[in-house]
Amino acid sequence: MIKLTRRELLYGTAMVAAGSVLAACAPKATPAAEQPAAGEAAQPAAEAAKPASGEKIPIKYWVFWNQIQACEEAFRATDEWKAMEESGLEIEFGTGRGGDAGKTAVAAGTPPDVGDLGPQFDFALGGKLMDLTEFVNASDTLKPEIFFEDNWLGGQWKGMQYGVPAHECYVRRGLNMNSRLVGEAGLDINNPPQTWDELFEWHKALTKFDAAGNLTQFGIDPYDAEGGTGPGMDGWCIPELWDVPFFDYATGEFHLNDEKFAQALDTCAEFVRLIGADNLQGMRSVEGQGTWGGSYNAEVQAMIIEGYWHPGETFKEKPEVSALNVATWVPVPAFRKGDKVQTFSGHVSSLFAEGEHAKEAWPILEWLQTKACCDIIFNEIGWLPAVKDYVANVDGSKYPGLQFYLDSAKEFTVSYGPCTIPIQSFVETKYIQYRENVFRDTMTAQEAVDALQKDAETEWEESGWKERWSAE
């Protein structure tokens, strides 16, 4: 019998503990030869290594957003998903891994194989995504022509196809109105405001305070939901509506200190001043805890600028409010009255260059375009893809207000696409800060756009993008 002394036991324990720490910290062995260089066109899945008989290939498929979680069970139940798994893929489906967790995983060299609804553009800039051109060329089903053009182009950067449209795409601009509140204010829902001056009159008519001066209802928060976004995959609403050429892609120069942009901030500030800046902040706090447009769903806000998903999401979240929803064109400034503005944009799905089995994961990107997948997402959440054939057959009466968006995609007179600028997150943060300075009267609109321009230029230079842009 082996006799174990206390000292020997302690030795052993210490060795095991030290070994475990070392093992936990050891870098994961990755077959470097299988990893394409950043931006380099990868070989399509068909040419990727096949698994040994009976061996499954583990695929990490991360959606950086939460809502899609509701679809997982239905996804797995589709014949197409089962076929992918029968062909040798073992798909780990993860959602809500957005923001810092996703960025850190990618930066640390441990990304998923497939990722979407996340900061794909940042990943593309960092050379973390595969060029999908060869995959697309080799595909029988996923072709550029099946998508709306702007949506397809949204997955490109400097000649590289870093993503293909998926999950949630299509059009982003519409003014949604609560017909009951509009009717009660004596306004005609069939004759909606076409300019921001007219919108302000509606805003005044729909805004109510109690005897003590507390806000009880308001017309519109121009910076809620799509109206408030900064530059990004959804475009940049307010500068688009005022037709501000805020960035020159040819030279890499910002033109944010534009007179029209100042005019836009001044106009929006009037809306906020009427309801009170503090009240707006309170409304947006509530919004921050839930979904966009929480105050619209609560029937405190009568109008909201939102994308095509609004009818579907409202239907799911608040059916009684959805029943009152009517959508129309977003008003434009008087100088461009008559323009029907629409923005085609959305999200893309990508393969990560450092994903262990990214090449083998390509079938997921093809599957995302299938009717079975799009049906689940549309029915569960209310989102539409960028696949033209699918959208052409969508029933616009399913969600009140949706038909406007379907028609608008054909009737627009001016269209915009995604607004992809390398320092977009910085510009968005500063935009939000400076526009608040304007509606709180601590800065004039012109001072705000001048400061925004200065900050953007400084960041452009300090982040190294000025130099990189010239070089590329």
Partner: protein
């Protein structure tokens, strides 16, 4: 010869003891090297680079440091954080000490009250933020709903730049359970005989508290104050969840700005420089605090 062998054996034994000691402490040493020293050294290196998390860092010398004084955001967050540290550290200590003093008095249900006052410390900060959001929101908050029902105007606790920091201060003072427990233990250590002697000498309640309780608790007051100062400079969760640095950047504290630079603007090099500057500031403040302790902290052994 025998002596030499004995010395050699002793030396071998000493070496073996060293090895055993190192083996036993190796998990901690390895953990420290890998999870503390390595990240620290890395962040120091990154602070001299332009690093966006995605691409390899590019060495730029001291630029991340020398640009900071010209960065309007940096100046603003320094001002906001100084205000916060200046008020929240003493206010937190005062609040904790006051709660401990009250809970040290012999009242009915004292244990229940102690549990209630300690409770905020064990609730996750996220939950605390959500609860206070629903209490303080200008439009839907419970406090303002009550005010409105009574015909009063709402108070923009978290929506107005002038009220936001004081509102956060209020929440901070409420969540002082940990410091309160330390004070409570200290208060129970104050010898009864001192109070009895003072009472015999005719000292009133305030005089006893001022001349006996405060001096004898001053080392712990100092300890809690130092911890509060350090924590104040690092404040992140509560303002991030409640105001996200607003309204009008009035609660944009140092750690929030650091986080924005690291994960939103993808300026990890600059964020690392900000972290090291923060470290120096905290060290400086702590040294100053230690320097002035002799004037008011009473150590029984001195």
């Amino acid at each position: 010869m025998a002596e030499a062998t004995h010395k050699q054996r002793m030396s071998e034994l000493g070496w073996r003891r060293e090895l055993v000691g190192l083996l036993f402490t190796s998990p901690w040493i390895l953990g420290f090297l890998l999870f503390t020293l390595y990240p620290l050294a890395s962040s120091l290196y990154y602070s001299f680079t332009r690093y966006d998390l995605m691409q390899p860092p590019v060495f730029i010398g001291l630029l991340n440091y020398t640009r900071l004084p010209h960065d309007s955001d940096f100046i603003n967050v320094l001002k906001q954080t100084l205000w916060w540290v200046g008020f929240s550290a003493p206010a937190g200590v005062i609040s904790a000490f006051a709660m401990a003093t009250l809970l040290n008095t012999p009242i009915w249900g004292r244990s229940v009250f102690r549990a209630i006052f300690f409770f905020p410390s064990i609730v996750p900060e996220f939950v605390v933020a959500i609860v206070w959001q629903f209490l303080l929101n200008i439009n839907y908050g419970a406090i303002n709903s009550t005010l409105r029902a009574l015909g009063f105007e709402s108070i923009p606790f978290l929506s107005n730049p002038a009220y936001a920091k004081p509102s956060l201060l209020l929440i901070h003072m409420w969540a002082q359970g940990s410091a309160m427990v330390i004070f409570l233990a200290t208060l129970q250590d104050v010898p009864r005989s001192l109070y009895e002697a003072a009472t015999v000498d005719g000292a009133g309640a305030f005089r006893r508290w001022w001349n006996i309780t405060i001096p004898l608790c001053s080392p712990v007051i100092f300890f809690n104050l130092v911890m509060a100062f350090i924590g104040g400079w690092q404040t992140f969760t509560l303002p991030w969840l409640l105001t996200q640095g607003g309204p009008n950047q009035s609660t944009e504290f140092y750690a929030i700005n650091l986080y924005r630079n690291a994960f939103s603007y993808m300026r990890m090099g600059k964020a690392c420089a900000l972290a090291w500057v923060l470290f120096l500031i905290v060290v400086l403040f702590t040294v100053i605090l230690f320097r002035v302790t002799g004037r008011w902290v009473y150590y029984e052994g001195d």
